[in-house]
Each structure stands twice: as C-alpha cells, then as structure tokens.
C-alpha cells in the first residue's frame, strides 16, 4: 500500500495566510481569496442564525392551531424574513462564497481569483445588501413573502418592501461578481497541464452555478427594480388597477428564482463529488457524465420557471411544455446520484464525518428530488401547489441537500482552512442529531401538504395539529444539531489536533500545499499531469514544499 508518509507528527506551517498579516485593515481590505472566504464564513453564519431564529419562532407558533403566540402580521413577517435571509443571504452564497472562494483558485492551480478586488467588492456588496435587509427587519419587518408577488407587494402592503427589495438587489450584484470571477478564473488561469478534463468536479459544479449566477441574477434585479418603481411612484407595471399584469411579475420573478435553486444545489453536489471518492479511496464513477450533468442542469434550469405557475392562469399549452421540460431537468440529477452510489461500490469506505454528511445528502436529496416529480405532474400539482408539500420538498433539497453538503464540505476542508482537525466524536454526534431532527421536522409536512394545509398559514384547522407538533419537535432537535458545530469548530481553533498537509490523503491540488495554505497558495506553481481522483494508482500523494 502506501509508502511511509511523514512519521513525524504534523506541525503548523510557520507562515500561512492567517498569520501573514495582522490587524483589522489587513482583513477588511484584503485581496486574498482565502481571507475573503473567511469573511464570508462569518457573515453567512450570522445570517443563518438570524434565519434560524425566525424558523424556530415559526415552528414554536405552529404548535397550536389558533395562532396564539404571535399576531398574524408578525407571523407573516417571520416567514418572509426567514425566507429572504435563508435564500439570498445564506444558501446562495454559502458554498460558492465560502468554499468556492477558498478552493477554486487552489484547485485550478493559481495564486488567486482573476479579479481579487472585485472579489472583495462582492463581499462588501453582500454586507450592504444584508444591511438593508436587517434595516427592513429592525424597522418593523416586511410581510410580502420572499416571493414579493404583485400586486400585494406593490400596492397593498404597509411595510418596508422597497428597503428589503433593495437589499436583495444589492446582494444579487454580489452574486453576479462572484460568478464572473469564477468563470474567468476557470477559463483563463488554470495551471499548466490542468485541462478541463482534469478539473475537480467541485470546480465544474461551481462553474455551472456561476453561469446561472451571471445570466439569471440580473433578471431578478430588474424585476425588483420595477416592483420598487411601481410601489414608489404608483405606476402600473404589475398592478392591474393601474393597467399592469400581475402574472408578468411571476414570469420575471421565477425566470431567476428557479435557476437560483440550481445555484444553491450545484456547488453542494460539487462538494459531494469530492468527499465520496476520497472516503471510498476510489476515483469517481463516470467523471465526464457528472461534469456534463452540471452543465445540463444549469442549461435546463433556465427553461422550467413556469412550473411554479401551473395554477396561476397560464395557458394549458404553456403548462404542458413546462411540465415536460421539468422532467428533463430531473434526469441529470438522477445521473449524479447513481454515479456517487456507484463510486462507493468496491471502494474502501471510511465513515468519517464528511462521509456521513455526504451519504445523508445522497439519501435526502434523492427523496427531495423525487418529490419534485410530484410537483411537476400537472394534475397532481393542482392539489399540492402552495401547500406544505412544497415546503417539505424544498426543505428536503435545500436543507437535507444543500445545508448537509455545506456542513460536509466545512468538515472536509476545515483542516485545510485552519490547520486543525475538528473533534470527530462530537462531529459524528452532531451529524446524527441533524439527520434525525431534519427528517422529524420535514417528513410530516409532506403528509400535511397532501392533507391540504396551505402555506403561510398563521392559524390552521385543528386536525392538522398532531403533524405540526411532530414537526416542531423535530425542529428543536435540528436546532441542536446545527448549533453543535459552532461550538466544536470554535473549540478546534485552539485545541484541535494539528492536521498537516493532507490528513485525509485526498487527491487535489489543495492537499498538495500546507494547511493552512500560504498567502500565495503554492510555493511553486504546480504542473498537472495526473487525472483528478487518481486514488489507488499513485497511492501516495506527493507533498512539495
């Protein structure tokens, strides 16, 4: 098997990107993609906690059917702010802005992203957007729903809709610049020998997500700008009282917001494509198919938006086309699931925490994705649209899928980013708690949805209470599962075992440099000759200093 690696205990490198420079200015004015990734790590964690608090309040309120905890207006603000924070300020940036920013330059073998100053600008735009969102929250909250439907949002609500919309628009530009940076970097800055066919699948996934970011996000920007103009100046773009068409708003909104869900999930899939081969000691099964599936998902994702509008008043013929295409977009995702499973076949599997999260992802994403098929079925969607079935579906793919992948990725690359290992036992426990809590929270909601409980309901008929209580109980378990990593990751910064360059013996250029990496990523620019995921052939990963 492997020739002897370093028998000496690993030590922290003397100089690395974290200690190369001290002081707040060296962080707030940094151009280092790795430091920017850390800045994002802190900020999205804050927004995740904010969104999580709102979720907890929602589940607490729904313990009883008669709306006893909060007023209706307050409840409507809770689900709006939960959705906005989670979608725009947590899920969309999470993997790309934290893990992507950190890893993409290293994985392609270069010193930084193509445009480091724009990368920093991205973070500031994100903070600016988040500030508007927080301001909207603090000045009374907004109750439009994260979907801002017209004419409700443009002509009837009394809350600070424009302030929140401005926050989302600015955060959108943050996303656009991140995507732009990734695309140019992958196209123009790969190390010698790093052909497209040798790129790690994490890069392929982020690249595909970046395509969506740059093409889709501008449309939500202009849509919300028009909504704000209508609301501010009382002109008629979407409000029929003023001559507008409310269904046009939905078309424009979902033209971005559907591809947005693929922005969220593709990078997560990229994480899984890195973890599964490493902990199976096996190259990924069907590399080209997985790579092209990412692109296929990005492309198909743009032509299915009106499957959110089957009962909104579109024509039957439109609905038929969009339903058909929605089934097409499911196939590449299925291909990936099969390829990951096949990668484990005849591997040598170690169930470390990242692998636990990856396996949880594969199972939960499969369920979530298949329930999407229910929603794409026209006759069935009439019944389950705008019910808790939809909520259960998207939480399965976004939380059971995306958040699980994000946590898996954090655990996998934590040693690379910080130089220290997290403690394995609490981590495994947290993964288990999260898995149980998640399923307990959201599985009952499939049943609630088919029963007919609509979304965004402050009060509900009493026969739905048992399932709601079950769901809320699960939420309290899930909350614990999500909070534990905060504690042990913080603990690990001081007390965690020193990781060394490649604690997982993984392939990939990031594992060939020190942990944490030096500011310029490599001491010498690598020249790439190996295939990605070359486990088993060159059993030893060479480390160069």
């Amino acid at each position: 098997m492997s020739t002897a690696t370093a028998i000496v205990k690993p030590v922290m490198p003397e100089r690395h990107f974290l200690n190369d420079n001290y002081g707040i200015r060296s962080w707030l004015l940094t151009k280092d993609h790795k430091r920017i990734a850390i800045l994002y790590l802190f900020s999205i964690t804050v927004f995740f906690l904010v969104g999580g608090v709102f979720a907890s309040l929602i589940r607490l309120h729904l313990l009883t059917p008669n709306g006893e905890l909060f007023e209706a207006d307050t409840y409507n603000k809770l689900f709006t702010m939960h959705g906005v924070n989670m979608v725009f300020f947590f899920l969309i940036p999470s993997v790309p802005a934290v893990l992507g920013n950190f890893l993409v330059p290293i994985m392609v073998g270069t010193k930084d992203l193509a445009f480091p100053k724009i990368n920093l600008l991205s973070w500031y735009l994100y903070i600016a957007g988040g500030t508007f969102s927080m301001a909207a929250m603090v000045s009374g909250g907004v109750d439009s729903g994260w979907t801002f439907y017209a004419p409700l949002s443009s002509g009837y609500l009394k809350t600070h809709v424009i302030m929140l919309a401005v926050g989302v628009i600015i955060a959108g530009f943050s996303s656009i610049f991140t995507g732009l940076n990734f695309i140019v970097t992958v196209h123009r800055m790969r190390a010698p020998g790093m052909t497209w066919g040798k790129l790690p699948l994490f890069v392929w996934s982020n690249y595909a997500a970046s395509l969506i970011m740059i093409l889709g996000t501008p449309v939500i920007a202009i849509t919300l700008i028009l909504l704000a103009l209508e609301r501010g100046f009382h002109i008629g773009i979407f409000d029929p009282k003023l001559g507008g068409d409310p269904v046009l708003f939905q078309h424009m909104f979902w033209f971005y917001s559907h591809p947005a869900v693929y922005i969220m999930i593709l990078p997560g899939m990229g994480v899984i494509s890195e973890i599964v081969p490493c902990f199976s000691r096996k190259r990924i099964f069907g590399y080209s198919f997985v790579a092209f599936s990412s692109i296929a998902i990005a492309v198909f994702g743009f032509v299915v938006w009106a499957h959110h509008m089957f009962v909104a008043g579109i024509s039957v013929y439109s609905a038929l086309v969009f339903s058909l295409l929605s089934y097409a977009v499911a196939i590449p995702s299925a291909v990936k699931v099969f390829n990951w499973t096949a990668t484990m076949y005849k591997g040598s599997i170690e169930m470390s925490t990242p692998m636990l999260y990856a396996m949880a992802f594969i199972g939960l994403f499969t369920i979530g994705g298949l329930t999407g098929l229910f929603l794409a079925a026209l006759g069935l969607d009439i019944h389950i649209h705008d019910t808790y079935f939809v909520i259960a579906h998207f939480h399965y793919v976004m939380v059971g899928g995306m958040v699980t992948a994000y946590l898996g990725g954090l655990h996998f690359w934590w040693p690379k980013i910080t130089g220290r290992m997290y403690p394995e036992a609490p981590a495994k426990l947290a993964a288990l708690i999260t898995f149980i809590g998640f399923n307990l929270t959201f599985f009952p909601q499939f049943i609630l949805g088919y029963m007919g409980m609509p979304r965004r309901y402050w009060a509900y008929p009493p026969e739905f209470q048992v399932l709601n209580v079950l769901s809320s109980a699960g939420a309290s378990v899930l909350a614990v599962g999500f909070l534990l990593p905060l504690l042990y990751f913080a603990w690990s910064l001081k007390y965690g075992e020193i990781a060394g360059d490649n604690p997982w013996q993984a392939t990939g250029l990031e594992w060939e440099t020190s942990s944490p990496p030096p500011t310029h990523n490599f001491h010498h620019i690598p020249i790439v000759t190996k295939d990605p995921y070359a486990y088993g052939e060159d059993a030893e990963v060479t480390v160069v200093h």
């Binding site: 732009l180 010698p192 093409l215 996000t217 501008p218 033209f255 010498h524 020249i527």
Partner: protein, 262 residues
Amino acid sequence: MSTSQTTTTEHHPALAHQFDSMEQQQDASTFGMWVFLLTEIMMFGGLFTAYLIYRLKYYPAFVAGSTSISVSWGFANTLVLIASSFTMAMTVWAAQNGKRKMQVWLLLATMVLGAAFLGVKAKEYYDKWDECHIPGHVIGKGFNAWGGCSATDKSLGNIAEEIRDPKKHGNPNVPEGAAEQIAKQTEIFFSFYFAMTGLHAFHMVIGLGLLAWLTWRAKSGEFGPAYYTPIELGGLYWHFVDIVWIFLFPLLYLISRHQHGV
C-alpha cells in the same frame, strides 16, 4: 509532481500578482468585461421584454406616446453617442500606439459628447415634466395626458388632442372617448420610457466617471503599447452603453411612430 515555472526577473509594474504574464492579464480582463456586459444584456433584456409585452397589449397608446416624444432630439442623441464611440475607439488606437496627448484629448472629447447626450436627455425629461407626462403622482405635477396639465393652455401635453389632430399626424376619425382612453394608457408607455432611458442614463453617468478616471491615468502616461487594458475595457463598456441606446432609440422613438416628423 510539480516543478517551478521560470519567472521573468523583471515584470511590468502594472502586472497584478495573480497573473503570470501581461498577456494573461489582458486576456482575462477583457474576457471578464465581456462576461460583465453579458450580465448587463440580461438586465436590460428583462426590461426590453416587459416593454415589448406591453407594446402588444396597449399598441395604440404606445403609438401615441412614441409620437409625443421628440424624434429630432432622439436622433441628435444617437449621432452624439455614435460620435463618442468613434472617439473612444480612436482612444484605444492612440493608446496602442503610445500617443499620450491624443489619448487624453480623445477621452475628453468622449466625455464632452457623453455629457452632451445627458444634457439633451435632461432637456427631454424637462419637456415631459412640463407636459405632465411623468407617470405616477409622486414626481412632478401628476400624470395628465388629456388636457388638464395647464390651466391656460389646454393643448400642453394633450395627447388626446394630438391623436385626433391631422396637423400633428393624428387621425380625426378616432372618437374623442377613445382618444382620451388611449391618452390615459400612455402612462404605461412613459413608465417604460423613463425606466429604460433612466437605467441607460445611469449607466452613462457611471461611464463618465470611468472615463474621468481613465483620463487622469492617461495623463500621467500610464498607458502605452505594452499596457492599455483599462482603456480597452473602458472602450468595451462605452460601446455597450452606445449599443443599448441603438436599441432604445428605435424601440421608443421610431417603430411605433406612424409618421415621421416631430
């Protein structure tokens, strides 16, 4: 296995640390600017799509609204912008050929032309303000296109009248009631007019800022045959803003206008 790359012992002062060569830097930077312009196309595209949908829905109103804005000023602006794109392209040539003074003059000329464009737009906006054609009731005197804008002059901004006035290329066979309703619906046309030209003008203002910055750098001799990437990027951006106008002008001023003339 990795080997170290031979590095040149001296490199151009403008070479950013993440790039290996000036060539790679220029290549990546222009590619990045093209990608950015693609996002801008998506943003304007959303607006144009909404415009086209409403043009279909309210065609007579869009004809009337289009007729009521000045094609002379619009055409003048088109010429101004095309000229400014010419001066900008010449600036890139000048930079490629190391002509410092010429760069500066041409950049200044581009800025003057850009400012002229904005000046004309300001005049057009003022006209619309004066005629009560600003949509909504928040800015200006409140939208009124059917004879109520001025207490003394019932014809000021009176699109209902213009629709039926043969002297203004109107059609006297259109009944009064219909003309008044069409005039009311022009509020949507003007909403798009201001949104589209406003977004465009916003991009022009940013463009002027970029040009000012480039002028300052060009003055100190920063650009020459070895390095003129910022000028090239500024040129790309400026040409894009010009092309957006080339679409706006026909869409807003020309295609719904039945007759030529002001």
